[in-house]
């Protein structure tokens, strides 16, 4: 029986879809069988980031409305040996085309075949959000150090508290080391304390994320980037490993030298 995790943020543009693609890929790299579900119906992106855009034949609405079987709509990522699948969103419908009950049934079906089901939640707190959290067992909350994203994250935690999902876990994305050290933005500890939920991981701002996503290759495939390491750490923590946080105190360069840079 698999576990469904919703990846949400409230605010748009903080990296939900990128994080879904990368955490899912990292879990697949660890040998887990993973299905990514794109719930951003009408504005789908997850397929683009995974480089699977052209392979979509059926989508989630086709499944819900009975035009296709679930296994027909699932897209296999050929980079992994039957480990990573995507259930794409429909582009021609909107968020109201599916309801919570249908979503729960769908995810229950997926749980029979997959160990992890990652649900990419759309921005906002409307129907798309409700559908996404309805079927989830756990939640990962993405925020950036910006106050607007933190405020929205706080709202989302409040909404998730009213559901059977236990406390969401926090991922702080797009950390700019310089700004955080200068005190221009709240630091990791402040954000975590303010939101008072468990910290799952941090991701440094990294141009390579955009570059990799544009090529349709999640950045996590290439281990030589701090963002990739961040996502790998998150996936290991999801699997129950204890991984120390990439701390801000350490110099980024020396940190990487420590791991990969001997002799360089």
């Amino acid at each position: 029986m698999g576990k469904a995790i919703v990846i949400t943020s409230g605010k748009g543009g903080v990296g939900k879809t990128t994080s879904t693609a990368n955490i899912g890929t990292a879990l697949a790299l660890q040998g887990k069988k993973v299905c990514l579900v794109d719930m951003d119906i009408g504005l789908r992106n997850l397929d683009v980031i995974l480089g699977l855009e052209n392979r979509i034949i059926y989508d989630i609405i086709d499944v819900v409305e009975g035009r296709a079987k679930l296994h027909q709509a699932l897209i296999k990522d050929k980079r992994f040996n039957d480990q990573l699948f995507l259930l794409p969103a429909a582009q021609h419908a909107d968020k109201n085309a599916i309801n919570e009950i249908q979503m729960v049934d769908l995810v229950e079906e997926l749980k029979n075949d997959f160990e992890y089901i990652l649900i990419d939640c759309p921005a906002g707190i409307e129907q798309g959000f409700k559908n996404s959290i309805a079927a989830a067992d756990d939640a990962i909350l993405i925020t950036t150090p910006e106050i607007s994203a933190i405020r929205d994250a706080d709202r989302i935690i409040g909404l998730i508290e009213q559901t059977p999902i236990k406390a969401p876990q926090l991922v702080i994305n797009r950390i700019r080391k310089g700004m955080m050290e200068a005190g221009d933005v709240m630091d990791v500890e402040e954000i975590t304390r303010h939101l008072s939920i468990k910290l799952l991981g941090i991701i440094y701002e990294d141009d390579e994320v955009v570059r990799a996503s544009n090529r349709g290759n999640p950045v996590v495939l290439d281990p030589d980037h701090p963002s990739s390491q961040g996502y790998r750490n998150i996936s290991r923590r999801i699997l129950g490993d204890t991984v120390p946080l990439m701390t801000l105190k350490e110099e980024k360069v020396s940190f990487w030298k420590k791991i990969f840079g001997f002799g360089k």
């Binding site: 929205d152 706080d154 409040g158």
Partner: protein
């Protein structure tokens, strides 16, 4: 029926005691004869005030009006009614108003915590979170959102909290915005204060030491029931 109504003079004034075991009809009759007798007897017509005690009987407003009609004239007045009992409805309402609601939680953005009567909140009110109470609000923790005391217009309500963060306080219809522009001095400003509406209907922040002087009634009901 004799003895259903008795007149008693005490230091505080005259008391009309209506036996709770007697029927009200009998009491009315006896009140009529008693007062007419008194009218005859009293020669120097000066104003006399009566305090009506009804023992284990709670009178309705209608019954009170009948008694007022019987007793009152130009000189006889009824100052107040008193009974040893209160209705269940009144009791429950009083209980709600008098015992502070205890909330131990984080009030997040978009959440609203409401209470009848006073509220004691232990936790943090995040920006965008709202606590509302028809009475006063006491916060142990941090107030970064909105606290609205006296929501039904009770202007004597207060908000007690540590106002070291940006926040908004409302009492009744009055709004006060707390802005700490300089975050650096916040550490030193670690004192609990209270917000109240002063005699000029202006909302004001004051030191906790003044609370007892400005709102002496606040601790009246702490622990134990009194007859309201």
């Amino acid at each position: 029926m004799k003895g259903t109504v008795s007149l008693k003079g005490t230091q505080e004034g005259y008391q009309l005691i209506i036996q709770s075991s007697a029927s009200l009809e009998d009491a009315y009759e006896e009140l009529k004869s008693l007062t007419s007798q008194m009218r005859k007897d009293s020669h120097n017509r000066r104003e006399i005030k009566f305090h009506v005690k009804t023992g284990l009987r709670e009178l309705t407003d209608k019954e009170k009006n009948i008694i007022i009609e019987i007793v009152e004239d130009d000189y006889f007045k009824i100052s107040s009614f008193e009974s040893d009992v209160i209705t269940r409805e009144k009791c429950v309402r009083w209980q709600k108003e008098a015992s502070p609601t205890l909330e131990v939680r984080t009030v997040r953005s978009g959440q609203m915590v409401e209470a009848e009567g006073d509220m004691l909140l232990i936790g943090v009110v995040h920006p965008g979170g709202i606590v509302r109470a028809s009475g006063s609000i006491y916060i142990i923790g941090e107030l970064k959102g909105t606290a609205h005391a006296g929501v039904n217009g009770k202007e004597s309500a207060v908000v007690v909290a540590n106002f070291r963060y940006n926040a908004q306080v409302r009492i009744g219809d009055n709004v006060h915005v707390i802005e700490k522009k300089d975050r650096q001095i916040d550490e030193e400003a670690d004192t609990t204060e209270f917000v109240y509406v002063n005699d000029l209907h202006i909302i004001e922040v004051s030191k906790l030491e003044e609370l007892k002087a400005l709102r002496p009634e606040l601790d009246n009901y702490a622990g134990g029931i009194y007859n309201g």
